[in-house]
Structures are given as C-alpha cells and as structure tokens.
C-alpha cells in the first residue's frame, strides 16, 4: 500500500474517532475542553458565573451554557470558544433542553416556578409556563411531541405540548425528581428521584408510572443513594443513572428495570454523556473535581481526569 495513503487513512480514522468534551465548571466560572479519546485536558476558558446546563446545537457550531448567577444562557462559538450572544433565560437558569426543530429551547427557572420557552432564532421569549415548585429537569422527546419538566418540591412531571406550549398532563413521582430522559423511540420516559432513591419508568402514551427501580448498593447507606443524571443508550436496551453521593453509576436493563452493574466513579457524580461512537461514557463528578471515563462495551471505568472545580454539565462534539 502507498505509504502516504496509509498515513492519510490513519489520520482519517483518528479524526473520525476524536471527540471534544465541553464541561461546565460551576465553581471556576469556566468551561473545560477535553479530548475524550485520549482523556486529556486541552484548555480551560473563562465564561459566565456559575455555569451549569450545557448543550450543542444540531450543527454542533454553537454551545448554549446556563450561566446561573448571570441569569442568562450564553451562546458560545464551539470552535473559537468566544461568547457570541446570550438568551433571555429568566432568573437562575439551571437545566434546559432544545427541541429537535433546533428552534425552541426550554429552560427551568427554579426560583420562579416557571419553564421559559425561548425562540433560538429570534433570541426572544415565546412563552413562560407556570409549573410546580422548584422546576428542575427538562427533556424533549426525539419525535418532538412532548417536553417534560420535573418539579423538585411538587414531585411531579409536567407534560408540555410544544404545539401550544401548555401543560397537558402531570404525573406524580417519588420525592425530589431531578433528571428526565426519553427513550429514543419516544415511548418511555425515565425520571430519577433524588430523595426517593428511585428511577420511575413512565409510559408516554398513558403518562402512568409503569415500573419503579429502587437502587440499593451493598455497604452504602441508603440515604446516600441519590439518583440524578439519566442517559439512555440509543439501543433503548440499557440506560445509565448517576447516583450522586453514592459515587456510582448504575447500569440498568430497561426491559427488566434491574441493575446490571454499579460502576465506581468520582464523588457526587452528576451528569452523563456518550462519545459519538458510543464507546465511552463520561461522567462529571462534582466533589472530586474530575470526570470519569467508562468503557461502555466492557462496563469498566478506565480513567479519571481532573478538570477543575465542581464539574457540572457536559456536551460532546464529534
């Protein structure tokens, strides 16, 4: 084989695998940029105050970052990492989700009991939807039909219809619901309850809780098992749940709603993301100030990497 062709192939295959992680550092008011494949910290960029929720647009050209103490969502150019604009998020934005139409962004305003809907093209507020007390998690189904929001003190999942931006149904779940994640076929919704120590499996058409999983780890006090971030594998067979101060990620079989394995990661594990090729799972660990990298196929933690103080949210760019 031609020597140059071989080199070109190697470069090509390497670049197709390489992924860039953007991690918000809540205490450092900064964004850590990490090479996911090699597990190395590339750089740290100062952004707004108390950055938490983070997401990329569909083209992966823009990053949206909830800058909680600035009461705004910053728009950051994903290649230059410069702040290029901001969105009127309302007070204290924490988590948000973008509709598949890449036009509507839903953000929870914890202190005001509202979900604010923002038009990303016009950078203006379309609607503010009153929800329960202390709204937290936001998720949009892949088919775009439902937006859900969890409220931590009301203990409910509010089902918002994006067609008219109003609540159509409410589902009661265990205490202090945090994250919500749809299955990729949009048929099921999974909601973690931090104080309840459980994961609810909700049928999207009936809006009823169909199954519930209570986590229990031998040797770990039950009160420390506080499920937070939820990530569903695209095969819809398995999902991952970050268990907060239990310092573990649970690997859950969706069909049986049982735990296949608990993976020991850093302290107070918070949010999760896959590498684009699904070979790696990344976790942000708030207290140990690092991220853990998990080999998805073998369900083994392969590396931990210090990134800065209070890593919170994570977005992955191909």
């Amino acid at each position: 084989m031609n020597k140059y062709l071989l080199i070109a192939l190697i470069i090509l295959s390497a670049s197709s695998l390489a992924d860039t992680l953007f991690i918000t550092l809540e205490k450092d008011n900064a964004l850590a940029v990490v090479n996911g494949e090699t597990g190395t910290l590339l750089k740290t960029v100062t952004i707004g105050q108390r950055p938490r929720g983070i997401a990329l647009n569909k083209q992966q050209t823009l990053l949206y970052v909830a800058s909680s103490d600035d009461d705004t969502i910053q728009i950051i150019d994903a290649s230059t990492l410069e702040v290029v604009g901001e969105l009127p998020s309302g007070e204290d934005p924490e988590t948000f989700a973008i509709h598949p139409n890449d036009q509507w962004l839903y953000v929870s305003n914890e202190d005001d009991n509202l979900v604010t809907v923002i038009d990303l093209n016009k950078k203006s507020v379309i609607q503010q939807i009153p929800v329960g007390v202390e709204p937290e998690g936001v998720a949009v189904s892949a088919d775009g039909q439902w937006v859900v929001n969890t409220s931590e003190t009301t203990n409910m999942v509010h089902w918002i219809d994006p067609l008219d931006q109003t609540i159509k149904a409410n589902t009661l779940v265990d205490p202090r619901p945090r994250a919500a994640a749809f299955s990729n076929d949009s048929q099921r919704l999974f909601v973690s309850s931090e104080i309840g120590g459980s994961l609810s499996h909700i049928n999207v058409s009936s809006k009823q809780v169909e199954a519930k999983l209570h986590f229990s780890i031998p040797g770990v006090d039950k009160s420390l098992v506080q499920p937070v971030g939820v990530l569903v594998h695209p095969n819809d067979k398995v999902l991952f749940v970050a268990l907060g101060p239990a310092n573990r990620v649970a690997v859950v079989d969706i069909q049986t709603m049982t735990v296949k394995k608990y993976l020991l990661v850093g302290q107070r594990v918070w949010n999760l993301a896959f590498s684009p090729d699904l070979k790696r799972l990344y976790t942000t660990n708030g207290v140990s100030n690092d991220i853990s990298i998990i080999d998805v196929e073998n369900l083994k933690v392969t590396k931990s990497l210090r990134v800065g103080r209070y890593p919170w949210g994570i977005a992955v760019k191909q």
Binding site: V133, T153, M156, N170, S223
Partner: protein, 375 residues
C-alpha cells in the same frame, strides 16, 4: 377526581389553621435582634403556597387561618372556635404546658396537630398522644447531635451551665442524657441564677464563675439567651461554647445552603423580608407533610392522613440531603440537625459513623426501644 392538564374538574378545599399565643415580653440582653412577630406563620404561608402550586395540578386548594390568643387567655377557647369552624389540621406554636391540654382536646375532636415550636421531650414520649406530629426537633435530638460532634472532637469533659426556667431545665436534662449516652463526663454543673452583684460586669463575673476542674468545653442551657452570650471569650479556660449559644444544634440556619437549601432561603426571604428560623422551617415542614400525605394518600380525612404519615410510604424532602419521615413511636419527624455558629454551619449531624440498624437518623433522639409508646 379527574384532572386533565392544568385544569381539574373539581377542587377539594383543605382548611389549615396556625394557632399561636402571644408571648409575654421577655427580658432581652440587648436590642440586637428585632423581636419577630411573624415567626412560624411565615413558614406556614410558604408551605401553603408550595402546596397550592402542587394543588393546581391535583385539585387541592389549601387555605390558612392565623389565630393568636392573647398572652393570658385560655388557648382552649381559640382551639374550640377553630374546631367549630371546621378546622381539622392545626399547626401549634405553643409552649409545652399549653400544648398538652390542647392535644387531649384534639383526640376528642379528631383534629391533627403539628407542633412547630415546642422541643420538650415529655410531649413526645410520655403522653403517647397520636393526635400530635412534631416537626421541630426535640431537645433530645439536639443534645444527641451535639454530643456526637463533641465525641468526634474528643471534647468529652463538659462544664455545664444551666439557666433556671422550664425550657432551660428541659434542655439541660436532655444534655445530661446525651452525656451519659455518648460517654461524656460532666466535670461541673452550675446554675446561673443572676445572683451576682449588678455593679460587676459579665467580664468580671464569668471568669470566676467558670473556674473549676479542667474542662474541654462549656455547655450552656439558656434558651432565652439571658446570659449565655457573655460566656464566649470570658470563660476561665479558653474553651469553645456550645449548646444554646456558641455552636448551636438546630433545625435550620440562614447559612445553610446545601442540598437545594439556597433556593429555599431565597424563596423565604423574598416572601418574609427576613431569614427563615427554626420555627418557620418546622411550620413549612408541617404544611408540606400534610400536602405530601394528601397528594399521595388521595384522602383528606384525618385518620387516613395520620396513618399515611406514620407509614413507610411517607417521605418528605426538606433540603437536608436525605428523606425525612415520622417516627411512629413518637410522631417526631426524623431529620438531620445543623450545628451552627452565628455565621457558619459547623457540621450536619448525625454523622454516618454512628451506626443504626434502621436509619442513621435515629441515632439522635429517643429511639423505639426507649419509648413507652410502642405502636
């Protein structure tokens, strides 16, 4: 009842009362802190607001009535008035001696009471009255929390100073029980009786008063704060002050911001224009407990609410990093205790190293085997 979306076909009203008695004006050390006239009721109001936010989706509407009996009046009259008006859920901000007879009346009238301010242990384990739920931590819980921390610090030799009113003695009794439980030694115990020469200042009086055997820490039981504030920096030996002053074991503190508490502090400050106190927090917990029981138990009958709150199904999120529930033997809300100085949280107790077969939260306060109420 069917609720579709944000609209419910039919709304169920839940009447809730907050019963308080005006307190006799207390002698104060200084006019440093404003006397609160709305303590407790502000917490209840926030709880009602939170319950109604949930209620708009479940079809429950909570209304709160505030009633304050004059300082010298018979509270039973006010209580009976509430019963006649159809109130079945009453938050009480009353002293233990006043609450006891009301609790008896509550059984008769099938009323559920939530004690939000009286910490007396006698209320919880001697009377075995299942018409009262206690959301404020008992003195035993506070004292045990303190003793756990002292044990961890190896501050085992206590110089105990008591005030002389009923509350001081109740707290002091709890402290002595905790000392025994956690192997502390009371090397000295004195009562501050205000018998000093008024011309002598605290700076002159306290060093002499705190002379005695070698001690690690000064433990004080002065609930009203009549002399305890003077102990710091004035003790004969340079020792920390704990108990009712110094590092204080409490239900809530304005510096607490972990586990989402920052949001709670903000919401409360926005509403009340001041920081949340222990009693406000206990009142909020009481209203939220009722809200949880009604939402999940789907009944507003007192019997159903009581049995749900006593059951394992009940759990409440209270910004303390773990779920809160009621001990069925005393109907006391299990909860972590914050050990706080004026401007910081020292620690959150109980520590998990203190093991318990059921829940670590039961390592503070009277546990099931110690209770005479075996239900």
């Amino acid at each position: 009842m069917v609720c579709s979306g944000a609209v419910c076909a039919q709304t169920i009203d839940i009447k809730l009362a907050f019963l308080s008695q005006a307190k006799e004006k207390q002698p104060a050390l200084s006019n440093l802190d404003a006397v609160l006239t709305d303590e407790g009721i502000q917490g209840a109001r926030l709880g009602v607001k939170d319950n109604n936010a949930t209620g708009q989706f479940t079809g429950h509407r909570y209304a709160l009535r505030y009633i304050e009996a004059p300082a010298t009046a018979d509270v039973a009259v006010a209580f009976k008035q509430l019963v006649d008006e159809g109130y079945r859920y009453v938050l009480t901000d009353l002293r233990a001696a006043t609450l006891s007879p009301i609790a008896q009346l509550a059984i008769e009238h099938k009323v559920l009471l939530f004690n939000v301010s009286a910490s007396d242990d006698a209320l919880r384990f001697a009377s075995c009255n299942d018409s009262v739920f206690h959301t404020i931590p008992s003195y035993a819980m506070r004292a045990d929390a303190l003793a756990q921390f002292m044990l961890k610090k190896r501050w085992t030799k206590w110089f105990l100073i008591n005030g002389s009113d009923h509350e001081d003695l109740a707290f002091s009794k709890a402290l002595k029980r905790s000392a025994k439980r956690f192997g502390m030694s009371l090397v000295a115990e004195k009562t501050w009786a205000f018998q000093h020469d008024a011309r002598r200042t605290a700076q002159a009086e306290i060093p002499v008063f705190t002379q005695g055997p070698e001690y690690d820490v000064v433990v004080v039981a002065d609930i009203k704060g009549l002399f305890g504030e003077y102990l710091s920096m004035n003790s004969w030996l340079p020792r920390p002050i704990v108990g009712s002053q110094g590092a204080v074991p409490r239900a809530w503190h304005r510096t607490h911001e972990r586990w989402g508490a920052a949001q709670m502090q903000n919401r409360f400050y926005k509403q009340a224009g001041r920081w949340m106190t222990d009693v406000d927090y206990a009142a909020w917990l009481a209203v939220r407990s009722l809200g949880e029981a009604v939402t999940r138990g789907q009944s507003i009958k007192t019997d159903d609410v009581r049995s749900f709150m006593r059951s394992d199904q009940f759990s409440l999120a209270g910004f303390k990093g773990t779920k809160l529930s009621f001990r069925p033997w005393s109907q006391q809300l299990r909860q972590p205790i914050l050990l706080a100085t004026d401007r910081s949280i020292v620690s959150v107790l109980p520590h998990k190293e203190f093991l318990h077969p059921h829940t670590y939260l039961d390592t503070v306060g009277y546990d099931r085997p110690e209770s005479q109420c075996q239900k």
